[in-house]
Every structure is written in structure tokens, then in C-alpha cells.
Symmetry: C2
């Protein structure tokens, strides 16, 4: 039996990336998960990522330290900026919310390409979604497609061989309920995941940020119960 091909999977500990890891595993890849401690306000994300990587039997899991808080300008890295609640219109690209972290996915994918190159992996998975999302520019398919071309010009592995990186975004066109139904079918335990942008000190979700609103609607639309406990 051939050994499984290696893939790098970006894993935040949220619902989308957990489902993406399950899909990549189901496709037959040995999945090397990559999580970033980027000075986000809520380190519960890192613990969720650890639990998800373990539950889904990732081949390896690395946590990389980078300081994106030093650039500021995001509610996810600056405790002085409040996380918006109860936004009526979520996912409008011309109205990017303050939870956007400048160039985050560009930086994350660049590290993923570096890591992939050193383990001779050519498949990189990212759980971006352009349907039920906050409107971030770096979640659009045209961004990941462009990144793929750039990464293939940036690296030695793709210059001296015929192998090319493939940036895989298996959930990019799914609705949140489709993501949840897919993950449920593949055995994702969503009680291990964390989505809230502004959790309480004990880690429980706020229920009113974009991410909680999209997640709760997704479970409702899928006719499933979210295992997380919400305050309302």
C-alpha cells in the first residue's frame, strides 16, 4: 500500500477549519495541522485546535508564534477595540468589519507554504468560506487562487521539480449548514470547536458576534443542535 500523501492543513480550532481537516483526512491525506498563536485576544482557540487535531488523528500539529497584535487595527488582536455585536448585514465585502486582521490569511498561507516545502507536501488546505462569512477579503476564492500562483513562484520545491502547490478550499462555496452536515457525517465533534470572537472568561460564546450568529444559524438550518452552550 502506498503511504498517504502529506498535506498541510491550517487549523484555527473553529468549526470551518475542523471540518476542513476532516475532509482532507477523508480524502486520504496524512494531515499536518498548523495553528498560529498570533497574539489573538482569546487563546481558547489554541486549546480547541489541539483537541480537534488530536480527535481527528492529525499526523502532526505545530503551533507557530507570530505577533500580529503589534500591527493593531483589529478587534481580534486589540482588547481596546470592541467586537461588533448584532450586525444586521454580515458578509458584505464593501463593509469589512473591525474583526478583520490585516493580511492574516496571506501570512498564514505563506508559513504553510514554507512548512509544506520542508516536508515535501504540495497540498495545502484552508477552511475559508465565501458564503456564510464576515466579508473578509482574504476569504475570497480569487485570493486563494492568486496565492497558489505566487507560492509556486516563491519556492525551490516548485522551481526545481514539476510538482506544484495546490491550495485547497473544500468548503469555500458551502453554506454554514452544509459545512456542519459534512463535518457531522465525517465524525467531527463540534463540542471541541470554538467560534466566538468575544467569549466570556470561561470560554463560553457570546452568541451575538458575527461568528456566533453564523454558527447558530448554520446549526438551525441543518436541523442539528449546537453542542456549545449559549447565554440566551
Amino acid at each position: 500500500m502506498d503511504p498517504k500523501p502529506d498535506a498541510v492543513v491550517l487549523l484555527s480550532g473553529g468549526l470551518d477549519s475542523a471540518t476542513t481537516l476532516a475532509i482532507a483526512t477523508d480524502m486520504g491525506f496524512a494531515c499536518h495541522a498548523l495553528t498560529f498563536r498570533y497574539h489573538q485576544r482569546h487563546l481558547i482557540e489554541i486549546e480547541s485546535a489541539r483537541r480537534v487535531a488530536s480527535a481527528l488523528n492529525a499526523a502532526s500539529h505545530r503551533i507557530i508564534d507570530i505577533d500580529l497584535a503589534q500591527f493593531g487595527h483589529s478587534a481580534l488582536t486589540d482588547p481596546a477595540i470592541p467586537v461588533p455585536k448584532d450586525r444586521p448585514h454580515i458578509g458584505v465585502p464593501s463593509d469589512i468589519p473591525i474583526t478583520y486582521v490585516p493580511a492574516r490569511n496571506l501570512i498564514f498561507l505563506s508559513f504553510a507554504a514554507a512548512f509544506a516545502e520542508t516536508i515535501s507536501a504540495f497540498d495545502i488546505f484552508i477552511g475559508t468560506n465565501a458564503t456564510d462569512y464576515s466579508g473578509y477579503p482574504d476569504c475570497r476564492p480569487e485570493f486563494t487562487s492568486s496565492f497558489e500562483s505566487t507560492a509556486n513562484l516563491a519556492t525551490a520545491a516548485t522551481t526545481t521539480s514539476h510538482r506544484k502547490f495546490k491550495i485547497r478550499t473544500p468548503i469555500i462555496e458551502m453554506s454554514k449548514s452544509e459545512i456542519i452536515l459534512t463535518g457531522t457525517r465525517l465524525g467531527v465533534d463540534y463540542s471541541l470547536t470554538h467560534s466566538c470572537y468575544d467569549p466570556a472568561p470561561d470560554g463560553s460564546p457570546c452568541s451575538r458576534c458575527d461568528s456566533c450568529i453564523l454558527r447558530r444559524k448554520g446549526f438551525r438550518d441543518a436541523n442539528l443542535t449546537d453542542p456549545l452552550i449559549y447565554p440566551d
Copy 2:
């Protein structure tokens, strides 16, 4: 008088990036220098970058910590891998030397885009050179051109306004002697710069790595004296 437009300039402390900073300053930009402490073997680079930024009156200078050594696979981050010496053919893209650091310029430019976005700068300078260089894939003009497109899809600043990032590579087509002559005309003090991949403990250059060979040839071709002291 209009205030100067802001630019982000990647600054390693080497000859090429010092010259690039001088060119960007001469073009009328307020230059915000960005240096990476990426667990490179020789931290003398960081000190050189500080001195160069100060001598050229950079508007600001940030040093960013990222750990590229954890990925290994490069003589510049792994002390167990020897730096190649006296290579007969330097700059052949099909023969990328072990001093290549996986996806380094991709990662550096991604951070530069994040930083630029937060200070509303749209000009990013990088001192890549595709003539007298070690053959690294991420020094080719097609890489920086592709990165520019990707960065313009990745960021909020370029999505919600008509402004677009411009990745500027003013020395990319110059020979090393042209770079040195240009920098000299603009007042760069090359005694502050550092180029060697494998310096002695006191910081003096080895004279035999790719970088020393290219630098020394550049000064010879320019009919100028390199202010650094070489062991031979």
C-alpha cells in the same frame, strides 16, 4: 508642502536592502523599515539593519520576530548545515543552494503588506536582485509581480478603496556594481552593511560564500574599495 507618502522597506542590513532604502528615500518616501529576526544564525544582520536605518534616517524601524528555524532545511537557519564555499557557478535557478530559506521572501512580503495596510502605505520596497544573486526563486521579478496581485486581493485597504499595493524592486535588474555605484551616489555607508552568510564570531566576512563573492566582485567592477575587511 505635502507630507511625504509613506512606504514600507524590507531591510536586512545587507548591501542590497541598504541601497534600496536609500533609493526609496531619494524618491521622496517616508520610509518605514522592517527587519526580521527569523532565527538566522548570525544576528549581526540585525545590528547592521539598525545602523543602516539610523544612518539613512528611516521614519521608523521595526524588528519582527518569527521562527523560520523550526522548519529547518537551510544553512542560514540551521548551524548543522554548512554554508557552501567557493561555488563555481552562482545564480543558476535550477541549482538553488542550501542557503535558500523556504518561502522567506513570501513571508517577509506578507508581513510587509500587513504592516503597510495598518499605516495606509501602499508602496513596499524589497531589494531583490535577479542578476548577481544566489539563484533563489523568490528573487525573480515574476515572483514579486505575482505577489503584488495576491496582496491586492488579500487586504481590506485595497478592497474598499481604489488604492493598490505596489511592490517596488528598484535594483532587481542591476548588476552588483551598479547597485554599489547607485548607493554610493546616494550616500550609503557600506561599512555599516553586512553581507556574509558565514561570518567569523567577531562578525568579519568569510570572503568565500556566494554573498561575499558577489559583493567583492561588485566592488571590483565598480572600481571602489569595499570598506569591510576580508581575511584574504
